[in-house]
């Protein structure tokens, strides 16, 4: 069962950037595009690259793993070129200026 975690204030995460967040025992990459946030499991299932260090493509709603550039849809968790391969994503919302992650 998931529970909510307060990540911080909106401005704690750079716009069109990312932060690595430890929520309980999980490491989650949180991305910000203005007032829109995405959260995805930090470890790329291909070779273990840190998603938080990947190339964020807000216009495509995608992050590319920094090692081999595999592109992951940040809302659906699907691999760009083979949607059968997925990585876990997490709901994120903004409550009173605070970023709240359900993980």
């Amino acid at each position: 069962m998931s529970k909510d975690y307060v990540v911080g204030r909106v401005e704690d995460i750079p716009d069109r950037g990312s932060a690595l967040v430890r929520a309980g025992r999980q490491l989650i990459a949180v991305f910000r595009d203005g007032t829109t946030f995405y959260a995805i499991h930090n470890t790329c299932p291909h070779k273990g690259g840190h998603m938080c260090q990947g190339e964020f493509e807000p216009d495509n709603r995608m992050v590319r793993c920094p090692i081999h550039l595999w592109g992951w849809d940040l809302a659906r968790g699907e691999l760009e070129t083979d949607p059968r391969q997925t990585v876990r994503t997490y709901p994120v919302k903004v409550v009173d200026g605070q970023v709240v992650l359900s993980a």
């Binding site: 990540v7 430890r22 989650i28 081999h68 550039l69 709240v100």
Partner: protein, 385 residues
């Protein structure tokens, strides 16, 4: 760090920095058997005699390089994606990305065999080896290297091995498989094997030479995916077969080879075919130079026996079937616990971090330690503790 409760509401998450290397590698003795060194060309020229030092102002390349950046979104051939090591200090720094305490540096970065004028390869090899001795080895005894040689002129290669092979931080002689030149298994290459054995050096077979516009297969692959993904493997397999079938290991029973970047899961199919085809027409072997010289008609063992005895394989790129049952079958068929030596291929675009050794459920702690370093220490005479 424990999460901080925010009253009765949700817990507070913590913004952290990512680890540079998987923290699970802590406490392991790790040898990265494949990282790449790229000295500045002008620094290498300082180690060349005249007139090369003055005349070769730029690396005399190989014609038009295959440039896959249209497909990879990375510059050039993707060989400097994670950094560039020019010196021993750089090599030590790079190991913070791989988790290794020791490494074997590879000179393949310069595609040394691929210069048009093959005698220049001998000049470059000597300059490179002297550069490594002066600028890389002093940084740490844990930095080992492959000795660059000119495999296109095997007599020059042997002379170079005998010139600097006494240096204990060289652990192997470096050859490339790319299909552009004669197979490494032909008798022309015996001087390389003899000189390597004299100095307790492994012979490395590493992917290379194919960065030219064409791979020799089918007058050239059309895509980078075919070239890097499959052509290298096919050529590697053919070069390994050439050594076995043309009797290298009957003539040099103590010779050991390490294969890098050519794959290894093909071993079951390859050994089945070689054994069967060999037994179908064994007299084929009797016309090879080494068998004529030895007065022998056949190989002394089945082709498959030579794979297990005389070859080890660097792990990058490690790819496994998603079904763990299939992955384990493949692992066992290839005797991977014993046959594999850990490697990352830093700093190339194909970099393999060590995560897979922890994320693959059936890899035992014992196997993990063997692959990380124990197999390499047992295989390379100069890595033995």
């Amino acid at each position: 760090m424990a999460n901080v409760k925010t009253g009765n509401g949700p817990e507070r998450a913590e913004i952290v920095k990512p680890d540079r290397v998987d923290p699970r590698v802590a406490g392991y003795d790790i040898i990265d058997t494949d990282i790449h060194l790229l000295p500045d060309w002008d620094r290498l020229r300082e180690y060349m005699p005249e007139p090369y030092r003055t005349k070769l102002k730029t690396f005399p390349l190989v014609g038009s390089d295959y440039n896959p950046s249209y497909a990879t979104n990375k510059p050039g051939t993707g060989q400097e994606v994670f950094g560039r090591a020019r010196t021993g200090a750089d090599v030590l720094e790079s190991m913070k990305d791989t988790g290794a305490q020791s490494c074997i540096i590879v000179p393949g970065f310069l595609r040394p065999q691929s210069m048009f004028h093959k005698s220049w390869v001998s000049v470059l090899a000597s300059a490179y080896n002297d550069y490594v001795i002066e600028n890389v080895f002093p940084a740490s005894p844990n930095i080992k290297a492959e000795l660059m040689i000119n495999q296109r002129i095997p007599e020059d290669a042997a002379a170079e091995i005998r010139r600097v092979g006494h240096h204990r931080q060289f652990v192997s002689s470096y050859t490339e498989f790319g299909g552009n030149y004669e197979q490494i298994g032909t008798a022309d290459h015996d001087p390389i094997f003899e000189a390597s054995l004299e100095h307790d050096l492994i012979v490395t077979l590493h992917a290379g030479t194919f960065w030219q516009a064409y791979t020799p297969l089918h007058q050239g692959a059309r895509t980078w995916t075919e070239l890097l993904g499959v052509s290298t493997m096919a050529i590697c397999l053919a070069d390994v077969a050439s050594m076995i079938i043309q009797g290298v290991f009957d003539k040099y029973p103590d010779l050991r080879c390490t294969v890098k970047e050519g794959g290894f899961w093909w071993i079951p199919e390859m050994t089945l075919r070689l054994d069967d085809y060999y037994l179908n027409h064994p007299h084929d072997i009797s016309l090879c130079e080494r068998k004529i010289e030895a007065g022998e008609a056949f190989l002394r063992h089945l082709p498959s026996d030579y794979i297990w005895e005389h070859f080890r394989f660097a792990t990058q790129p490690m790819l496994l079937p998603k079904d763990p049952k299939h992955a384990q079958w493949l692992w066992e068929m290839c005797r991977a616990d014993d046959m594999l030596l850990f490697s990352t291929d830093w700093p190339h675009a194909t970099f393999d971090p060590p995560n897979w050794l922890f994320d693959t459920g059936f890899i035992t702690e014992k196997a993990r330690r063997k692959i990380f370093s124990e197999n390499a220490r047992a295989w390379y005479p100069r890595l033995a503790k």
